[in-house]
Symmetry: C2
Subunit: 244 residues, 2 copies
Amino acid sequence: MRTFKLAIAYDGTRYHGWQRQKGQTTVQEVMEEGLAKIFGEPLSITASGRTDAGVHALGQVVSFSSGGRIPLQNIVAAARGVLPDDIAVLSAHLAPEGFNARFDALGKRYIYRIVQSGKQDPFRVNYTWLLGEKLDIAKMQSAAQYIIGTHDFSSFQASGSTPTQPERTVSEALWEHVEDELVFSVAGNGFLYHMVRNLVGSLVEVGNGQRSPEDFCELLAARDRRLAGKTAPAAGLYLKEVYY
Amino acid sequence: MRTFKLAIAYDGTRYHGWQRQKGQTTVQEVMEEGLAKIFGEPLSITASGRTDAGVHALGQVVSFSSGGRIPLQNIVAAARGVLPDDIAVLSAHLAPEGFNARFDALGKRYIYRIVQSGKQDPFRVNYTWLLGEKLDIAKMQSAAQYIIGTHDFSSFQASGSTPTQPERTVSEALWEHVEDELVFSVAGNGFLYHMVRNLVGSLVEVGNGQRSPEDFCELLAARDRRLAGKTAPAAGLYLKEVYY
């Protein structure tokens, strides 16, 4: 038995998220079935975290153990032969026995892409938030500063979810202009369910003037999901990197 | 009755091309059914030309006549409400009675996108040719010069097709580096079926050294499809503009 750590990328558009669900096509199911062919036995694959329907991955990390005898250096090319074109294995490494992509993750980085023009764009509708509002990126950056450090992020958890431990540490929160898009890059030791999309939803309300950066600071301090803005759409979100 | 001329864009990934076909989802069918809702009657829409399955449009032009009473300036927004997000009406104009997007077209411009790295890329597989060969763009440009002007393009027509008139006039044929891609832009008064994809297939064989630019010139002169290279994949092709 060897334990493997794979970095993967996927276009989440046609998947119902990472996690196996009855009657839905998910990345986990497609990967388990594809890789089982090259490992010669059923596999149970663990991701660093599930991604929701329509969310993309540029650097998701997964782990599994198998007695399959495929040479390590053949895995990337062999996976390309058995997986659909919208899921790519970027790299394959051996990991220590017991390695778990989810529980051993030290942190993650996400990016979120926004197009301000609001024009219909058939080529970006599944890959960005086509927003249609002029946003003040300087104000959004001022507000984003408040999330750096360790905070109780209850205001930004998914409605109805009640994590046992709502504190997370954010190490980076940066808005940048990239061509005609606004791109938010956020890194931290972990994220509550829907946290990045909820942060983006409320930061956009700072950008369009509905809230001030100080209001955003109070929102964070209030630890009350009902006060936050709407959840940004899944299409703009990318899991960029997982740290171990 | 008014006659309309619409510029449209679509992501061709999930469509079986422009033209209505029984049992397949096509852009024509989806547009006719969507726009019928805002015009209040069935429509028969003509495009400047059909695009194949997986081919994209940045500036396709379509025409139709209708007695529907929707104000001209409302069409773009109303279309957004009734069409799927991967088909966009970019502009709507009135045209003279009898205007026909196909027969009145004076010329077209296509672009073709190639990625040389050959790495699997889930986000570009449906939008480029992920080729995996180093190409010499200078040689490809030298060869492309030969198609400028009026020629019999029989060598680049689809296998098995026999157009009554295989002469076409090409006014521009340009290879450019755009970020990490090679992009071919070609304009002319018309194109035979599969002509752009067949040109790209043979020009790539110049770029990778299988043919010289002079061989390509002879290929054009030979007027024999059997001598040409393979047809480049649909995913890299975009109908950029139609001229009237």
